[in-house]
């Protein structure tokens, strides 16, 4: 199996911009969120062109700030979760696009990028479902201090899972 020459990272970078646009659309509830979201999408687009990880991080950070601002402005849980998923994917794809470009360049990449995009989206979707279920079943009904303690414990546990 040998594919023709490709431009590695283009598909993943494009997916990053698409996810960024989706996050922007979902979380644009006011002027501040519009500005933050637009800045994030522009940074992601620039990262796609420039293959820059710094721009990718800046774009992801701006979109995340937009999300936080939108939630504080009253964005509902379902939209917030969808925007969080889109933000995470935009950030991840922007980084992996740069990574594909750096490691493969014009080398053939086969189905690597589509599988990465779909696989990462699946991981994020499962995580979102788990979070939504936990939120609906327990976190939403717990007193705030309990919910916070639960979350912090979960973060600590995931950190401990890393070798």
């Amino acid at each position: 199996m040998s594919d023709g020459p490709g431009r590695a990272g283009l598909l993943t970078g494009t997916a990053a911009v698409a996810c960024g646009l989706l996050a922007f659309a979902l979380a644009s509830v006011g002027t501040l969120t519009l500005v933050l979201g637009a800045a994030g999408v522009l940074a992601l687009a620039a990262a796609l062109v420039d293959r820059s990880r710094r721009l990718a991080t800046a774009g992801g950070a701006a979109l995340y700030c937009q999300l936080l601002a939108a939630v504080l402005a009253g964005l509902g849980p379902a939209l917030a979760l969808a925007a969080a998923v889109a933000t995470l994917l935009a950030w991840t794809f922007a980084h992996s696009g740069s990574d594909f470009a750096a490691t493969l360049g014009d080398a053939p990449a086969g189905a690597l990028e589509p599988v990465h995009v779909l696989g990462t989206a699946a991981v994020a979707a499962v995580a979102a479902l788990a979070a939504y279920a936990a939120f609906g079943v327990s976190l939403g009904g717990l007193p705030p201090s309990m919910a916070l303690a639960f979350l912090l414990a979960a973060v600590g546990l995931t950190a401990a899972l890393r070798p």
Partner: protein, 430 residues
């Protein structure tokens, strides 16, 4: 095919570094503003972190097979290489990135020695490319294969060393020579600028006791009564050192797929060795900055075979091995070892002042010098045009000092260049 894998690294790509901070910010904001939806965002981040914590790199169940068109190509010939990476495990590898370990002093002129793929059990990906390299043996480095999980968070990297692992570009033993100045006093075939026994007239000098009677100028004796002796141009052998510039600074080519100046210089040195040796000279060899290779000028079958072997096998003549000389120290060993009167043929692109200075120093030391300069400059960019002008200036300054300079354009055969007049500047259309 080889399935002997050497684990090089197991690592996290840290693609989600910073996510913990984002989750903590959302959690803190949720506490401060009493916004439950932020808890949902934090919970999502935590779930993603959990995946990041538990995911492990897949087993690198791959085997690598390498096929080469020929193991003994001629110099200048491209070699097609096909390296196949196959998933020999029973699980799909969602992210496989492979890079063949091309020999350090070669270059890919077509195709790619890298590839990425998703490999189901039994599937393979082929890295197909053409290699070019200079004369001599070149050893492949191990092929590297990295496998990652589907999200690219963790990676396992292995190295495999498939056969064949060596290519040898063989040089046709064509011969070429340049005029050299014999100063050894040893009998040979090249007319020297000294009188003695020979055929061609050189000069007449005062008779000294012991001069052969056959060389007395009897006509002059009859006219003037003075005894004088006729000197003929002696035929001598020269001591010649072929000094090849193999520094990093000489690994230059006018375009990415063209032969580098080092490869051209090494080929030319091979041809010159054959030609000068056949002409009866004592020929030696040096690599600049001469960290490893110094073969003093000599004759004999053993010397000839040894020098041929050094040219094709010594890593000093591979373009990545010799590195950079400390500024101003280029050729120190050559100057220290150089026999008095030896003619030095410097093979260098002369794209920096160090090689230029070395030629001047050898000339100032009293050793005859010739310079053969493969032109690696490209004139399609302003920087390239400046480099070409500077190089041409160096060649002109060397010519002014009486050094024979052969400017070797990238598109000209070497034999034609050395047949040309070394005092004439090559005019190029740009």
């Amino acid at each position: 095919m080889t399935d002997e894998r050497t684990l090089v690294a197991e690592r996290r790509t840290d693609r989600w570094v910073g996510l913990v901070g984002a989750v903590l910010v959302a959690t803190a904001l949720a506490a401060l503003t009493r916004t439950p939806t932020l808890l949902l965002v934090a919970a999502f981040g935590t779930a993603v972190l959990a995946y990041n914590g538990v995911v492990r790199p897949p087993e690198a169940t791959v085997a690598v097979e390498r096929r080469v068109e020929t193991r003994d190509p001629g110099v200048g010939q491209r070699v097609s290489v096909e390296t196949t990476v196959r998933n020999v495990g029973d699980r799909t590898l969602a992210d496989v990135r492979a890079a063949d370990g091309i020999p350090p002093a070669t270059r890919v002129v077509d195709g790619s020695a890298r590839a990425g793929a998703v490999l189901r059990p039994g599937e393979s990906v082929t890295l197909a490319y053409d290699l070019a390299g200079g004369p001599g043996a070149h050893r492949f480095e191990p092929a590297t294969v990295a496998v990652r999980d589907v999200a690219g968070l963790v990676e396992r990297r292995v190295e495999l060393d498939p056969s064949p692992d060596r290519l040898t570009w063989t040089q046709e033993l064509s011969a070429a020579d340049v005029p050299v100045e014999p100063r050894t006093g040893l009998p040979g075939r090249t007319p020297a600028d000294r009188g003695g026994a020979g055929v061609a007239f050189h000069s007449v000098r005062e008779h000294r006791p012991g001069d052969p009677l056959g060389r007395v100028d009897w006509n002059r004796f009859a006219r003037t009564g003075d005894l004088s002796t006729v000197e003929f141009r002696r035929r001598e052998a020269a001591s010649v050192v072929l000094a090849v510039d193999t520094r990093y600074e000489a690994a230059l080519a006018p375009e990415e797929t063209a032969d580098t100046a080092i490869e051209r210089s090494v080929s030319a040195a091979g041809a010159l060795f054959e030609g000068l040796y056949a002409a009866g000279h004592r020929v030696g060899l040096a690599a600049l900055p001469a960290t490893a290779c110094w073969v003093p000028p000599a004759r004999g079958r053993a010397h000839r075979d040894r020098t041929r072997r050094r040219l094709t096998e010594d890593p000093a003549f591979a373009e990545t091995s010799s590195g950079t000389a400390v500024r101003g120290t280029l050729g120190e060993r050559l100057l220290a070892e150089l026999p008095s009167g030896a003619h030095v043929v410097v093979l260098s692109p002369l794209c920096d002042d160090d090689a230029f200075r070395l030629a001047r120093r050898i000339d100032a030391r009293g050793n005859p010098v010739s310079v053969i300069s493969p032109d690696p400059t490209a004139t399609d960019t302003p920087g390239g045009r400046v480099a070409a002008l500077e190089r041409r200036e160096r060649l002109a300054r060397l010519r002014e000092t009486g050094v024979d300079v052969y400017d070797w354009p990238a598109d000209a055969p070497f034999e034609r260049v050395v047949a040309d007049d070394p005092t004439r500047e090559v005019v190029r259309r740009e």
